[in-house]
Amino acid sequence: MATPEYAASLDEQIDRWRSYLRRRQAIHSVDVAELEDHLREQIAGLTASGLASDEAFLIAVKRLGDLDSLSREFAREHSERLWKQLVVSPVESDEAKAWVRKEAVVAFALAVAAAMLIKLPALFGLDLDENAGFYARNVTFFVLPLLTGYFAWKRGLRQSRLGGLAAVFVVAAIFANIYPFTPGGSTEALTALHLPIVLWLVTGVAYAGSRWKEVSGRMDFIRFTGEFFIYYVLIALGGGVLTAFMAMIFQSIGMDIEPFFESWLLPCGAIGGVIIASWLVEAKQSVVENMAPVLTRLFTPLFAAVLITFLGTIVLTGRGINIERDLLIGFDLLMVVVLALLLYSVSARDPQAPPGAFDVVQVVLVVSALLVDAVALAAIAARITEFGFTPNRVAALGENVILLINLAWSAVLYIRFLRRRGTFSAVEKWQTDYIPVYVTWAAIVVIAFPIIFRFT
């Protein structure tokens, strides 16, 4: 059998092979361990049949298959890893570097274009101050078509699908502008809030490209949405700091920057930031990918503690929830946050890991959020006739029910997953299948509510 020198060199060869494999983002170290076990077994089999160990090594490596297609297969199976793969691997060749640079140029050009577009209506006498309603209803049209175009360009979207997306934008623009809204009315505000939800999905179709029909494609879009949000908030915070310093230093020479800030910096920055944030998510995913799990770890217990304290206080003091004003929207947002915490922690979780203390906290959080929301819903249902059906309340109520159903079933699936009765893919599939529900509801609010409530 193998001499000691041979054995040493074989181990060296395997070490080199292993470190080469580790550089592949799509193949994690547990998989490398699995493949190494395979390789060693294969080598043992081959040397037993008379081959020298270095020959056996070569044959075993060759039988394992070419590494590029192997890591592609791994990436396809573990799409959450593909997510990193998309960004990290291309930067190896010169051609790929040129592509990265080209993409950055395109993103910045689109951001500048969006920033100029938002100032375009002002040329025709539509000032931000006097036409707040127009801007609120139409703000998404200044940026999302450009963002959709960016993704369509990047993913090489088919003409027919691109045409379909453009048609949705046109139809949406018509609905946003033909209704004779009462200025400052609720239905106008609802349109301004719900239209972006519909159009964000249109952007999502372009984002996922040919993978829109697949669970993994839609799941990537959900991840993208979360990371986009984090980047956008970071950019906004940075912009706030910049503005504060700008105001201070110009104040020192007796100049007031407020008019410039209000009519240029804020609108242009907010619009351009959308494109820049999207591009950052595409280009630098791994940074946020490491942040999101940390944030969920930090805030899941805190949110759970707050909700449980709240429930305890209700029980102990016997206070009812006071929904005199449109507080329900606040509870809707709470559900969205809890859902986001759930999604992020599940998607960052290693499916192989046994259930731990954090999973218990997660379940506690979801269940307590469900209870809190049920209490709020009961309070409003009991008194809805007394308050009357205003557009805001009906919209918020609809959203609340939609989110409640989603969260309740997510909780069931998550508990099943933890008890090893179900799979993680079931949780993902439920979320991705649910996307059309939000969009349908948002579309109903945009299209039907103004008519039902007579544009008030």
Partner: protein, 128 residues
């Protein structure tokens, strides 16, 4: 005879599930079993088995566990689950339907087998 890639890919799920239904196993041994069963006619690229196993694991058809093998190395073993058995039964029904369809049409086509083979083969041989 080499079996084409699409067929190999399509048959990988039922084959792996069936092998695991016999007994829990690990990657290398599964590949050995495939070779044995197919008489060497089904050549899988070894590495490609692992993404297949991971997909089956994600779908809940198989369960994996790490054990220390007799060689002293850690080894990942796979075993079939309840849903995996149900899926195997379903795959079996589908493959049997495909098989029956092909058998029917092949029988109709190739029943006068000798004459069919003789005709095109002869001129080819002369040409060579």
């Amino acid at each position: 005879m080499e079996i084409n890639k699409d067929l190999i890919a399509a048959s990988s799920t039922p084959i792996v599930l069936a092998i695991l239904a016999e007994a829990d196993s690990y990657g290398y041994a599964i590949l050995q079993r495939v070779r044995e069963l197919s008489g060497g006619r089904m050549e899988w690229t070894d590495g490609m088995l692992y993404p297949v196993l991971h997909r089956l694991e994600r779908l809940g058809y198989v369960e994996a566990r790490w054990e220390v093998a007799e060689s002293g190395r850690k080894r990942k073993y796979y075993g079939i689950t309840g849903p995996g058995r149900a899926q195997l039964a379903e795959e079996r029904r589908q493959w049997e339907a495909v098989d029956a369809t092909l058998k029917g049409i092949f029988q109709a086509l190739f029943s006068p087998l000798p004459s069919f083979h003789a005709a095109p083969a002869a001129p080819l041989l002369q040409g060579a």
